[in-house]
């Protein structure tokens, strides 16, 4: 692709921040799944065994949250819903069927925005519930009845987050040219015009 056909989508800081969160997410998710179901317990071997898994998981989670704060600050304002998003949601069937013509999508579509807010909410819930059940530092200061609620909140929000990330990864594979936006920072003009026409016009100005 020659330079004239490119549009810059993510700065190098944004990319670095994104991949920092992604790496910490993978580590936190794998070490967390190990504690969630016996079928995943073998994952603790990648972290040095069950006890190390238990020790490391909360620190990985807190680091993930802190680096996600960076993404939140960077992308917050781009993720406010607009009237065009309602149209997008209405035509979700067309979108999944690769018939998105006529949708006037901005920098992010309603699916991406929803995912962003899902991540904001779940990481905050994970942080709060995670601190409450964090042994041996914080858990002893909370009543057992609260610990029971917190583990349920923690595993449900973790599940929603992991499921959301699955969708996020799949969407990037499905819509060709998307991964490059986060690895190299640019997309093709054709990509922008097809998937994010309102953003394309804004940038083109």
């Amino acid at each position: 692709m020659n330079a004239a056909d490119r549009i810059s989508r993510y700065s190098s800081q944004e990319r670095a921040n994104h991949w920092m969160v992604a790496l910490l997410f993978v580590l936190a998710a794998l070490s967390g799944l190990a504690l969630f179901h016996p079928a995943f317990f073998f994952l603790s071997d990648f972290f040095g065994g069950g006890t190390w898994d238990r020790i490391l998981h909360p620190f990985l989670g807190v680091l993930m949250f802190l680096s996600f704060l960076g993404l939140m600050a960077r992308f917050w304002s781009h993720n406010r819903y607009t009237p065009a998003d309602r149209e997008w949601l209405k035509r979700i069937g067309d979108v999944l069927g690769n018939r998105e013509e006529g949708l006037d999508t901005g920098k992010y579509n309603a699916g991406q925005k929803t995912l962003f807010w899902v991540m904001v909410v779940t990481t905050i819930l994970l942080l709060i519930s995670g601190v409450i059940i964090w042994q041996p530092w914080f858990a002893p200061y909370f009543p057992i009845a609260l610990l029971r609620v917190a583990v349920v909140v923690h595993s449900l929000s973790a599940w929603v987050l992991i499921a959301g990330i699955f969708v996020h990864i799949y969407a990037a594979i499905w819509v060709k040219g998307t991964v490059r936006a986060m690895t190299r920072g640019y997309v093709s003009r054709a990509w922008a015009k097809k998937h994010h026409p309102a953003w394309y016009r804004e940038i083109g100005k």
Partner: protein, 296 residues
């Protein structure tokens, strides 16, 4: 462990059958007859001696509860309550607290570490600290607030019902030390039978509500009480009236685990199917041409 390793009914975080070649072995139980206990704490001392732990020396909190609570280094404590029934009387209630060895143990259900908690065929629930990862989930699972994480090694500890002694045909150390016969040990059937005799005796002495505490909410327990006030277990230092594994723990460990694990698989499969049926979404030459056109 020893010979008991052949008789494991349940094992934490394990989805296959644990070693159980001998099948049915008789269930055992400890019976604590509160009406006979004089609060001498011989059992507390015997537990320390046999299991060889020493809690740090604490301070007196103004009651006979000493030490005031269970700990990783204190697997049984006597809890004293001054109870005033109607008519200006005073009763001094003494309850020996410790693991109840539930038939349906919440600690085992909650534990994520394979083999850190086992339930032997005879009903004893035992922690195997060498497999414990120190997460404290057992604390959230237990309806009786029993397990404690050690500050020294980060592992969870509680009463073993002297599984090492029972395995070789001895009674638990506390039973051996009790001077009044308030503690007895045997098969669960025998202990229920013994309790019936004690309850009949208490009934004849004016304790009409005397009852056996073997709560059904946890499938019954392998440590049971004879309670003179059987209708009011909570007066014995908050002994729960109707204990059971918390619904939160059941949701977390019951439905959530399989459904959520499956859910992730379904989403991954859904993505794959979508890709092979609908195909990728690509910006093509047409889009590029339009773009060129607009740029002009």
């Amino acid at each position: 462990m020893a010979s008991q390793s052949l008789d494991i009914a349940r094992r934490s975080a394990t989805t296959t059958q644990p070693p159980n070649v001998r099948g049915d072995v008789p269930k055992v139980a400890k019976l604590i007859d509160i009406s006979k206990c004089i609060g001498c704490k011989a059992c507390q001392a015997a537990c320390m001696e046999w299991n060889d732990y020493r809690d740090k020396v604490g301070t007196c909190n103004g009651t006979y509860n000493n030490p005031p609570d269970l700990d990783a280094d204190q697997w049984t404590v006597m809890r004293f309550t001054e109870y005033e029934p109607e008519g200006g009387k005073l009763e001094w209630l003494i309850r020996k607290d410790g693991c109840m060895h539930c038939a349906d143990p919440g600690c085992l259900k909650a534990c994520p570490a394979p083999g850190a908690i086992v339930q032997y065929g005879n009903g004893i629930v035992d922690f195997h600290e060498e497999h414990c990862i120190g997460c404290g989930y057992c604390i959230t699972g237990c309806p009786f607030d029993i397990p404690r994480l050690s500050k020294k090694d980060g592992k969870a500890y509680k009463c073993t019902l002297c599984s090492d002694r029972v395995a070789v045909g001895l009674e638990p150390a506390c039973i051996k030390s009790c001077p009044t016969g308030a503690l007895v040990f045997g098969t669960k059937d025998d202990m229920i039978h013994h309790a019936e005799g004690r309850i009949a005796d208490l009934n004849s002495r004016g304790f009409a509500q005397a009852a056996l505490y073997d709560p059904k909410g946890v499938g019954g327990t392998h440590v049971m009480y004879v309670l003179p006030h059987g209708d009011k277990p909570e007066i014995y230092d908050r002994l729960p009236k109707d204990p059971g594994i918390s619904p939160w723990v059941s949701v977390w460990k019951g439905v959530t685990k399989p459904i959520l694990g499956l859910g992730l698989g379904v989403i991954a499969l859904g993505g794959f199917i979508h890709y092979v049926t609908k195909g990728p979404n690509e910006a093509d030459d047409e889009d590029a041409k339009e773009d060129k056109h607009e740029r002009r």
